[in-house]
Symmetry: C2
Subunit: 234 residues, 2 copies
């Protein structure tokens, strides 16, 4: 009996759909019936994670638990959260369920070590994710050197994430901002970029700048496909 | 209290993700929390609908009901099936639940009458959908003139749907097939095309041919957004 995936989604809704597409297109399958059964609760009511971590905003865990309970009822065998920042709350969520979460920060950091040994990663993420130090900890555990954006670059990333992707606005006007963040980090020694907020793969696929990029949404999809006993398409 | 959507999916998995993206991008929302809560059971185990209708293949209703029960447990307020052919089984499914289904064939036919009054539609759909006569009946009810592909054109459509989209293979090699279907129907009087199989909007967005097209997946998304008390983005 092959296994199923539960997506604890809504953080944000477009990133949730992006993960679902990546699971479908990365699974080796020749017809509908060879795909993985996936349950999604795209719970748009989950309060903002960065606001909760940095500014005492509303605790997102109760709404996250509401989605978790639905995925349990559906019979999910593993859980994915397409939101890097949300992983700050993972210990509280994992304590509430027997179903294993696949930790996006762990699988991404392992992949960085495999794909780019000895090279320096730039962590592109929300201010909330960076403040938790979770990526820094996971990359250190894998021996991956890294750097983070400066204040000005971070403000440009937050603009792209919050004012454009999450607001469903066109990204093209911010193409210069995106390029200047990448160029700035490259100039300070970055060899590649971790798209460490699930809105950023959407930015990277729309505003075609040179990477190389490591896409945590893809890494989440890959880890879940393998966990469920399916093959990843080459 | 705004309402929620349940997607009875997996028919196929890529079409299910396409519907989720359309719901998200068509909803007027300025941040994550202004989006609709959507539950998905992307149940890839549902047997092929066309095979069941035409060739005595396995009855898909038991696996469809398995997904329906999950969406009930999650608390969906309305139900969408991103598979036109599956609507042949809608009466049996609706008899099993109090939650209203939004019928993609009805909302699409209404939209055809609104957008293209007096013009002739070509129904692009699976052989199973055409055999049920469901689109023909709904278009007749709206007074919309229509025609259907000839045998050769229908074989090309089924090749695109089953051998390429559902098999996750590149569509580009079949670009000439797609163009010849559209040209043939246009030559016989079609003014526009109903993408009446949920794999076909994927074909139409990849192989950029002139339409105009009416996309039932978009119409399903629009009807559900309005049902839930949200606004459609212009």
């Amino acid at each position: 009996m092959k296994k199923t995936i539960g997506i604890l989604g809504g953080m944000g809704p477009l990133a949730t759909a992006d993960l679902l597409i990546k699971i479908v297109t990365m699974t080796k399958a020749a017809c509908d019936n060879e795909h993985i059964r996936v349950f999604v609760d795209d719970n748009a009511a989950i309060p903002d994670r960065t606001a909760a971590i940095l500014h005492g905003g509303e605790d997102p865990v109760p709404e996250m638990l509401s989605a978790l309970r639905n995925l349990e009822k559906c019979g999910a065998d593993c859980l994915l959260m397409p939101c890097n920042t949300a992983h700050y709350f993972l210990p509280r969520l994992q304590a509430e369920t027997e179903i294993p979460f696949i930790n996006v920060l762990s699988v991404t950091s392992e992949r960085c070590a495999d794909l780019h040994p000895g090279k320096t990663a730039a962590i592109l993420a929300t201010t909330g994710t960076l403040a938790t130090g979770l990526y820094q900890k996971e990359l250190n555990a894998q021996g991956v050197p890294f750097l983070v954006p400066n204040e000005e670059e971070q403000a440009k990333l937050m603009h792209l994430i919050y004012d454009l992707v999450k607001a469903s606005l066109p990204l093209r006007p911010a193409a210069q901002d995106w390029r200047s963040v990448l160029d700035g980090l490259r100039g300070r020694g970055a060899d590649y970029f971790i798209l460490g907020c699930t809105e950023l793969p959407i930015v990277a696929s729309t505003l075609e700048e040179e990477g190389p990029f490591v896409d945590p949404t893809e890494e989440m999809a890959r880890a879940a496909i393998l966990f469920c006993g399916y093959e990843v398409k080459e």
